[in-house]
Symmetry: C2
DNA sequence: GCAGGATGTCCAACACTTTGGACATTGGTT
DNA sequence: AACCAATGTCCAAAGTGTTGGACATCCTGC
């Protein structure tokens, strides 16, 4: 399960800290997800997608 | 977090057992998700979406 | 009205996600 | 070189998802 969070986040010019705040999670959570330590819960995936203004299906790549 | 799994599954005429098998999870898992006992992991959400031939963003409703 | 499939539900164990707090490393600016 | 923000990483605790196994209930067809 890959994702484009880091890429899109940087394109939008926001920090991990800021993204974490917008999604109401710890900064480590965003960091771990960006670096593929683990996948987010479905709900968090939706919150991140919403913040980054992309669809879940675009942000995460399954297969 | 709502979802249209039961609705779409029935439209396709498949059982919880069958959907579970296709997604490689226990039948209880599908049952619990359909009845909103808990949300699936992100990966399972993708597997279910793939099996039901819809996008994650269509199958799950956030907000 | 009985049988069999489909669905709902319980439980305890295990796996995975998320957390705060802390510290190390990187990178850019001056 | 020194500063400071941003990022990476560690840990143990708490929360959440998934499981097999078992049993109850609901349909539907015969």
């Amino acid at each position: 399960m890959k994702n484009k969070i880091k890429e899109i986040r940087k394109k939008l010019g926001i920090t991990q800290k800021r993204l974490a705040q917008e999604c109401s999670v710890a900064r480590q959570t965003i960091n771990c997800i960006e670096n593929n330590k683990y996948d987010p819960t479905l709900e968090l995936a939706f919150r991140i997608s919403k913040t980054l203004k992309v669809k879940v299906d675009e942000l995460f790549i399954y297969e």
